[in-house]
C-alpha cells in the first residue's frame, strides 16, 4: 500500500479539520469575555444599550459555540483514528492534560451555556451573570490546557521514556509549564481577543456607515477600537517574546520564518522574496542589512543559524512558513495602524466622523481570523517533520492507514464542512448584518434565540394574541 500517500492524506485531513476548528474557539474565547463585560456593564450602569448589545452578540455566540462544539468532537477522536501510534506513545502525558480540559472547561461551558442562552427569566440577573462569567472562564481554562498540550509537543519537558516506547510523566509541573507554554498562551489568548474585537468593530462600523447615530453600533465600534489601541501593540510585544523563545528551542523554525538558509553573522532581515527550498536560496529578496541579527540576537553582528545547520530531511516547508509569517505580521501591523487612527480621531472627539476609518474597520473584520490561521500554520508547519519536537517524527506517528480509507473520510469531511460551515458563515454574516436595535421586547425579555423564531411562527403568534413580544412592558 502507498504509505507515504496515506500519511500525506492524514496530515491534510488533520490540517483541514483543525484549521476550521481553531477559528471557532478563537472567536468564542473572545466573545465570551466580551459578553461578560457587556452584561457586567449593564448591571453596573443600568444602561440598556449594553444589554441590547449583549443580546445582539449572544445569538451570534450561540451559533459560533455550536460550530466549535461539533468541530471539536472530531478533534478528540481523530488522534486515535489517524494517529494511533502518536496516541499510544504520548497518551500518558497529553491525555491527562486533555482530560483536565474536558473536566474543567468543556463541562463548565456546556453546563452553563444553557442557562446563559435561555435562563434569564428562570434564574434571575445575578445567577445569569454568574453563568455568563463561568462560560467565559470555561473558554479560558480550555485555552490554558490545550495550549499546554500543543506547547509540550513543541518543547517537550518533564518526561521519561518507558520500556515500550511511551513517553511517561516524570515531573507534571515541568510538563504543564513547559518552556514555550507561557509565551504561546499569552500570544493565543491575545489573538483570540483581537480576532473578536475586529469582528465586533467591523460589525459596528458597517452599521455606523448606514446610520451614524445607532447607539449599539457606537458601543461596538468604540469598544473594539479601544481593544485595537491597547491589545494590538501588546500582541506585537508578546509575539516578539514568543519568537525569541522559539529561537531558543526551535531555531530551525525561526530560520524558516526568516528565510535564512545560511548561517552568518550580521544576517539581513528579509522583508520579501521567493524562498526556493530546492536551491536553498531566497530569490528576489528585499532585505534590510544586519536587521535580522539585530532583532534575533540584539547585536548587529550576532550569529544567526540558517537551515544549513540541519540535514535536509529535518527541514520544514520553508515557503509556506515564510509567507504565512509575513501575512500574520501584516495583519498585526494593520491592526495597530487602525488602532492609532481611531485614537487620533477619538482624542479630537471625532471617533464616529471619518467614513474612511469605518471602511477600513469593515475591511479589517477578518484580520484576526487570517492572522490566527497564518500563525497556526507558522507554528505547526514550522515544527515539521516532528509531532513531538526532535523526538517523534510525523511519519512514525500515524495509524496503520490505507490511503483509500483516509481519502474517503477526508472527502466526506470536506463536503460536510463546506456545507455546514458554509451555511453557518452565511447565517453569521446575516445576523451581523441585521441592524442592531434596542428592540421592542422590554429590557429583561431576554428571549435570545428561540423566542425570535417562536414569534415568526404564525400559529404561535395567534396563540399569543398576535403579539410577537409577550413580555412587553416587563420592568428590568
Amino acid at each position: 500500500m502507498d504509505w507515504a500517500n496515506a500519511i500525506d492524506l492524514a496530515r491534510f485531513q488533520f490540517a483541514f479539520t483543525i484549521a476550521f476548528h481553531i477559528l471557532f474557539p478563537a472567536v468564542s474565547i473572545g466573545l465570551a469575555s466580551y459578553l461578560a463585560v457587556l452584561e457586567g456593564m449593564w448591571l453596573l450602569t443600568g444602561r440598556t444599550v449594553y444589554l441590547d448589545t449583549f443580546k445582539f452578540w449572544l445569538k451570534i455566540f450561540a451559533v459560533v459555540f455550536g460550530m466549535g462544539v461539533v468541530s471539536g468532537v472530531v478533534m478528540s477522536y481523530q488522534f486515535g483514528t489517524n494517529w494511533s501510534v502518536f496516541s499510544d506513545k504520548t497518551g500518558p502525558i497529553l491525555g491527562p492534560l486533555m482530560g483536565y480540559e474536558v473536566l474543567s472547561a468543556f463541562f463548565l461551558e456546556a453546563g452553563f451555556l444553557g442557562v446563559m442562552l435561555f435562563g434569564m427569566q428562570k434564574v434571575g440577573k445575578r445567577l445569569h451573570f454568574l453563568a455568563t462569567l463561568l462560560v467565559a472562564l470555561g473558554t479560558a481554562f480550555s485555552a490554558f490546557w490545550i495550549l499546554s498540550v500543543n506547547s509540550w509537543m513543541q518543547t517537550p519537558a518533564g518526561y521519561a521514556v518507558n520500556e515500550v516506547g511511551q513517553f511517561v510523566p516524570d515531573d507534571w509541573w515541568a510538563i504543564v509549564f513547559n518552556p514555550s507554554f507561557p509565551y504561546r498562551l499569552v500570544h493565543m489568548v491575545l489573538a483570540a481577543y483581537l480576532t473578536t474585537a475586529f469582528i465586533v468593530g467591523a460589525t459596528g462600523a458597517w452599521h455606523l456607515l448606514r446610520d451614524n447615530k445607532n447607539p449599539l453600533a457606537r458601543v461596538m465600534f468604540s469598544m473594539a477600537m479601544w481593544m485595537a489601541v491597547v491589545v494590538a501593540p501588546l500582541q506585537i510585544v508578546a509575539g516578539d517574546m514568543h519568537g525569541l523563545n522559539t529561537l531558543e528551542h526551535q531555531p530551525a523554525k525561526i530560520a524558516a520564518m526568516e528565510g535564512h538558509f545560511e548561517t552568518r553573522r550580521g544576517a539581513p532581515l528579509i522583508l520579501f522574496g521567493l524562498p526556493d527550498q530546492e536551491a536553498a536560496v531566497v530569490r528576489y529578496a528585499v532585505e534590510i542589512p544586519k536587521m535580522g541579527s539585530l532583532i534575533l540576537t540584539h547585536e548587529l553582528d550576532g550569529e544567526v543559524k540558517g537551515l544549513e545547520e540541519w540535514p535536509r530531511e529535518d527541514w520544514p516547508n520553508v515557503p509556506l512558513v515564510f509567507w504565512s509569517f509575513r501575512i500574520m505580521l501584516a495583519m498585526g501591523f494593520g491592526m495597530v495602524a487602525l488602532g492609532l487612527a481611531s485614537l487620533l480621531l477619538r482624542i479630537r472627539g471625532r471617533l464616529y466622523d471619518s467614513p474612511w476609518v469605518k471602511r477600513a474597520a469593515v475591511l479589517m473584520g477578518p484580520a484576526g481570523l487570517i492572522a490566527v490561521l497564518c500563525g497556526w500554520i507558522v507554528t505547526e508547519v514550522g515544527r515539521q517533520p516532528y509531532t513531538v519536537y526532535g523526538l517523534l517524527r510525523t511519519a512514525d506517528s500515524a495509524s496503520p492507514l490505507d490511503a483509500p480509507a483516509v481519502g474517503a473520510s477526508l472527502a466526506a469531511f470536506m463536503v460536510v464542512y463546506m456545507l455546514v460551515f458554509g451555511a453557518g458563515t452565511f447565517y453569521l454574516l446575516r445576523m451581523m448584518g441585521k441592524t442592531p436595535s434596542s428592540g421592542d421586547q422590554g429590557p429583561d425579555a431576554l428571549l435570545p434565540t428561540r423566542a425570535a423564531a417562536m414569534s415568526m411562527n404564525p400559529e404561535l403568534l395567534r396563540a399569543r394574541g398576535g403579539s410577537g413580544s409577550g413580555n412587553t412592558g416587563a420592568s428590568s
Partner: protein
C-alpha cells in the same frame, strides 16, 4: 496503601460512557423521531425540550474519548483505527445534527434542510454507535501494540443488529422523554411510539443476549458456565421486570415512570456488557491493566477528576432543574 488505579479509571470511564448513552440517547432519539412529529409547532417543542442541555450531554462523549486517550492510550490506539469508518460516520452525523439546533432558527426557507440534517445526523450517529458497540463486543484483532484486522471487520450481521438495537433503544428513550416533558397530542403520540419502541427494544435485547455468548467462548463461560450462571441470572430477570414496569407505566399513562424504566433497561444492558467484557477493555485480548498508562498519569488525572466530576454532576443536575417541567409552547424559552 496502593490503589488499583486502572480499575478505578475503568469504572470512571464506564460511568462517563453510561452517562453519555443515557443523556445523549434521548436527544438523539428525538432527532430520529423528528419527521413523524405533527408539524412544525410540535417539532419546535421537541427541540426546545433538549436545546439547553444537548451540548452538555455530548460532552460526556468527549470525556469518554479523552479519558480513554488519557488513561488507556493503548486501547484508544487499537479501538479507533479498528472502528475507523463507523467512527467517522458518527462524527459527521453529530456535526449534522448539532448545528441544526442553531441553524434551524436562523432561516425560514431553509428550515426543512436543517430538519433533515437533524434527523439524518441523529440516525447516522446512533446507528454508528450501535455498530461500534457490536464490533467491540465481537472482538478486535490485535497485532503487537496496534490494530491487526482489516477495514471492514466491524461490519457483520451481529454489529448490524446492535446498530438497529441502538436506534430502537434511543427511540424508546426519546419518546419516553417527550412523555415526561410535553402534553396533549404530542404526549399521546409519544406514548404510542414508546409502546412499539419498548417491544422492539425488548425483542432486540433478547436476540442480543442469546447471540453474544455464541461469539466468543469466554462469553459462553461467563453466562452459562456453572456456577457463573447463578451470579449473572439476576440480570435477565431484572430486564424482564423493568420491561413490565415500563409497559405498566405506559398503560396507566404515568409521566415519569416510562422514562425511568427505559433508563433502567439501558443500565441493565450496560451491566450485562460489562459482565461479558471484564477484565478486558479490548476483547478478547487486551485487559484493563495492559492498556493502562503509568500510575503516575492515572493518579495525576484522578486527583482532578475526584473533585471535578462531583461538581460537574451537581451543576448538570442544576441545569436540568432550571429547565424542569413541561415545555410551554406559547412562551418558548425565557
Amino acid at each position: 496503601m496502593s490503589l488499583d488505579y486502572p480499575l478505578i479509571w475503568a469504572g470512571l470511564i464506564g460511568f462517563a460512557v453510561l452517562a453519555y448513552l443515557l443523556l445523549d440517547g434521548f436527544d438523539l432519539g428525538i432527532g430520529i423521531l423528528f419527521p413523524w412529529l405533527g408539524g412544525e409547532a410540535e417539532q419546535d417543542i421537541a427541540m426546545n425540550s433538549v436545546a439547553p442541555v444537548w451540548d452538555g450531554n455530548e460532552t460526556w462523549l468527549v470525556l469518554g474519548g479523552g479519558g480513554l486517550f488519557a488513561v488507556f492510550p493503548l486501547a484508544y490506539a487499537i479501538i479507533l483505527p479498528a472502528l475507523y469508518a463507523p467512527m467517522m460516520a458518527m462524527l459527521l452525523g453529530l456535526i449534522l445534527r448539532g448545528v441544526a439546533f442553531e441553524y434551524r432558527w436562523r432561516t425560514v426557507r431553509g428550515k426543512f434542510l436543517w430538519n433533515f440534517s437533524f434527523t439524518a445526523g441523529s440516525l447516522i450517529a446512533t446507528l454508528a454507535q450501535g455498530i461500534m458497540l457490536g464490533a467491540l463486543i465481537q472482538g478486535i484483532e490485535v497485532d503487537g501494540r496496534a490494530y491487526g484486522g482489516g477495514w471492514w471487520d466491524w461490519l457483520t450481521p451481529f454489529s448490524l443488529v446492535t446498530g438497529l438495537a441502538m436506534v430502537v433503544g434511543y427511540m424508546l428513550l426519546g419518546s419516553t422523554w417527550l412523555i415526561l416533558k410535553t402534553e396533549g397530542a404530542l404526549q399521546e403520540f409519544s406514548r404510542r411510539v414508546a409502546w412499539y419502541a419498548g417491544w422492539g427494544t425488548l425483542a432486540l435485547i433478547g436476540i442480543f443476549s442469546l447471540w453474544t455468548p455464541l461469539l466468543l467462548p469466554e462469553y459462553m463461560e461467563r453466562w452459562f458456565g456453572w456456577p457463573a450462571i447463578l451470579y449473572v441470572a439476576p440480570v435477565p430477570v431484572l430486564v424482564l421486570a423493568a420491561g413490565i414496569a415500563l409497559f405498566l407505566g405506559l398503560r396507566r399513562k404515568a409521566e415519569a415512570q416510562p422514562f425511568i424504566f427505559a433508563n433502567v433497561l439501558f443500565i441493565l444492558c450496560y451491566i450485562g456488557i460489562i459482565i461479558s467484557f471484564y477484565p478486558h477493555i479490548v476483547p478478547p485480548t487486551v485487559t484493563i491493566w495492559q492498556a493502562a498508562g503509568p500510575d503516575s498519569s492515572l493518579k495525576f488525572l484522578l486527583v482532578g477528576a475526584s473533585v471535578l466530576i462531583p461538581i460537574i454532576v451537581v451543576y448538570t443536575a442544576h441545569a436540568y432543574w432550571v429547565f424542569r417541567g413541561k415545555i410551554d409552547p406559547s412562551a418558548g424559552y425565557h
